[in-house]
Symmetry: D4
Subunit: 150 residues, 8 copies
């Protein structure tokens, strides 16, 4: 009776090491979890469209080509996920994180939000679709531990 392998998608902020913290915490507990993520190399994520498919004069279409390729990865991995953790950092618009949350919500994926407390009011609609709201990666690890092993 092998344990279920959980697929957990880590969406959002790419400027801090929150994913590493969660991975390390879960690895230390030897939990049966596979993490997936968007491409977290910012330049690669911005430039993949023109690097692979050729240059564009307009920034809009450069972005469009990149976003399409990234969406192949992100939408597939969100659809595969058992749980989606959405992280909002201190800076930037981070609309893709909120988009992922909406996408996951409509697919009935359990969502955990992770952000510093000052964002709480601005994220209230997303929290209403989440099953837990955490402030630290350690709390997310504890949620995963609880959910996976009871």
């Amino acid at each position: 009776m092998s344990a279920k392998q959980w697929n957990i998608y880590l969406s959002g902020e790419i400027h801090s090491d929150w994913r590493d913290q969660i991975r390390a915490g879960v690895q230390a507990l030897s939990l049966p979890v596979t993490f997936t993520t968007p491409v977290t190399d910012h330049d690669a994520s911005d430039d993949c469209g023109i690097e692979i498919l050729g240059p564009e004069n307009k920034a809009f279409w450069k972005d469009h080509k990149a976003a399409g390729i990234n969406a192949i990865r992100t939408r597939t991995l969100i659809r595969d996920a058992d749980l989606v953790v959405v992280r909002f950092g201190e800076q930037y618009k981070q609309w893709n994180a909120a988009f992922d949350a909406g996408f996951a919500a409509a697919l009935d994926k359990p969502i955990v939000t992770l952000y510093p407390p000052q964002h709480a009011h601005a994220l209230k609609e997303i929290d209403a679709a989440a099953l837990a709201t955490a402030e630290t990666p350690g709390q997310v690890v504890a949620i995963i531990q609880y959910v996976v092993v009871g």
Copy 2:
């Protein structure tokens, strides 16, 4: 052979009159369109939870109760919509707009984004899920006219 009545949900920014402009433009063309929107009274939207269901000591739960009640309206109307227009204004985080876009995308709803050009890079993931990107309410009216009457 009566024409189809189109349901169009107008998501996002509540601080400018973009919805009125679209409504007026479409009304002037006598198109068979019903618009729906979130509650656009900011204070009502923030306070509905505690006003209806009683006070909370913590801002988080005040927000949570409000967001739940608003979600009854917004998720239902997005599910009913033939088209979702998502507006991002100049200010604020507007994560609920991005959430709505992701929610609509996963439900296979056609999406039109509407925002000032400086947001283009930050919205590239959402534009990748949209079928059109407009800068002005007038362009949205023109899209609706084209889509509804050809």
Copy 3:
């Protein structure tokens, strides 16, 4: 631009007049709402199977035939609903109310729970799937008013 007609299913307790209170409150506000309900005549609901399809020796099959016929109505109306209000009264097991809540949740129907506060702990799993929790029919009317007219 006619307003959306909301379908609201009123599930649960049949021993108090909470449905009448909600109907009256909504009617006083002239809201575009159609309410649907299970059959609320307790004896009819228990006996419809044997009355229509013939007697049974065992109570289990009497109940089974009745429950099947009631399910034709209740599942159809829940599937049709924009919003499901689930009422738990002071007495009885009311497992059918909890079943309806689970059924509605898996169908992504917005849920409002309505019950006296002493049930809160026992209903926590259902509240986690609800978008609002009310204590009085008046609060439900206020939620409907807010959701329907903003």
Copy 4:
């Protein structure tokens, strides 16, 4: 030609050893079955929200945080299940068990109910959505054996 591994979710009562009896019975038969369950440690299940995410003054929000985290586990495992066994014990409201049954029913999961005969009338709506109704864990084992190996 490897045999299908069946996923069976054991929902409901946590105060008797019915899950152990079913597990032992199935293990004795060496059937290819993986069982999943909610967290069955009552205190852990009640307290996980505040233990992981911090204290609450109100019992309602303490429960809400716990129920959200538990739902990450339970909804995921029910979605993964080939069969859902729902147990109602002698005591308590057990509304979460009935909720799980409704949730499973709307997802078209086969359901087996398991309860002492005195509950039959109160559970008739749930039985109408179940494919079998058992009184003992041994009967559930026999159903699993029949279903899995013929």
Copy 5:
């Protein structure tokens, strides 16, 4: 608050007047029900393929063309239905009736079976997917009355 108009599909046997009996019974009660049916003219149903689309040498392809055209109607109307009544008569294979029942079951449509008692054993799998089993058109009328008006 207008009543719901129920769509009821009457599938199966075309050699007796059971549909007329149900229609007449429901009409006498002035219930808000719209009935739909397959084409019940046996020759038209068999010949529509070659009459509209040209002759075939092989009976198999004559049948195939007819069955395709009939399926446009039947599958659409079953998908539209709130309730599917499936009638098995005394004669013939009536595999299309059983097919309709399976089709309706997988779409989560409530099913009522209607047949003379000698068929009960052969129809046990279909009855397991039905919410009621009737022997007479009058019983079906009574079920509709109960379901529609309570």
Copy 6:
């Protein structure tokens, strides 16, 4: 007991009057049918993107913007349709017609193909997903008549 209003989407070739023939034939029979179509003005369909949303230097992006706007209309109307008629004319690639057929097939929409016989071999995969294959608009009218009125 009002008759069902059928929504029929007429996809494909825009260079002959086949849609007019079907409309006229159905109108002469006074059938309860609403037809929907893509925008059939070829230039409007090609230019709508740049006319509404501004010019592009590259033909690819001009086309992309137009195709997105057209997709708002076409995907919505196909999703609304009870029946999709897909016409292939004598000329051009007509890949959008084949795309519509695939889109409709995956949505379980009944499909009727309409084309001159020389295309039969090249369209065999699409015919395998269609419920009827016609050569003339008159045959399509006859199918509609049969399907709608029996």
Copy 7:
């Protein structure tokens, strides 16, 4: 790059050795196929309800209990299947086979029918939902070989 393992459900007649012929043929070709079936022991299939869950006075309820338990197996395996082969033999009503075909059709499962030619007219509706119609187990093996290995 491991080959896909195909799940094929063999529905229908239990009185001849057609399943063994297909299994043997596929095994001789060493194809990556897992076959699943209903319980094919006629008596076990009829009696499982009362043997596991206790006796019934009425044949109808004996059958009902058996059919429910069998449905746990059959519906799960059909949902798991990549391909459903439905066999109609020379005798009996075989309504469960036709039900399975309808169930599979509504779930968009590819269907192959298998029957002696004299049944062709009576099975035309089911053939209209099938992707191939075979007369012999050997033809089914050849279809599987073609589909799996090209």
Copy 8:
């Protein structure tokens, strides 16, 4: 933490070695990808119906039988795919490729189109449903590499 194995379906043109180029490129990178394809032997694909199921006098039915059998394979593999690459070559109608694209689009499968630039205008509707448009197999390999390993 094993990497996800990606299923990629390679649809369309069968007259050039584009599939081999993609396979070779991906193999050189040792990516965890399983490719699936339609049967690419043109004669086998055309003749499988009559070879397995017997001759037909009319070319239409010969094609129909072949197309049905091919559809068992192609629809199943598209449903299984994480990504669908659709190739349009220089010649022929290639309506099946466009059909596959529409089928994949309605199933929310990410699509990459691959074709020589002269087809761009004719494929604009399909590109509007694609997340990337490539001109060479090498570009597709680069997209796969980026999507799979970041």
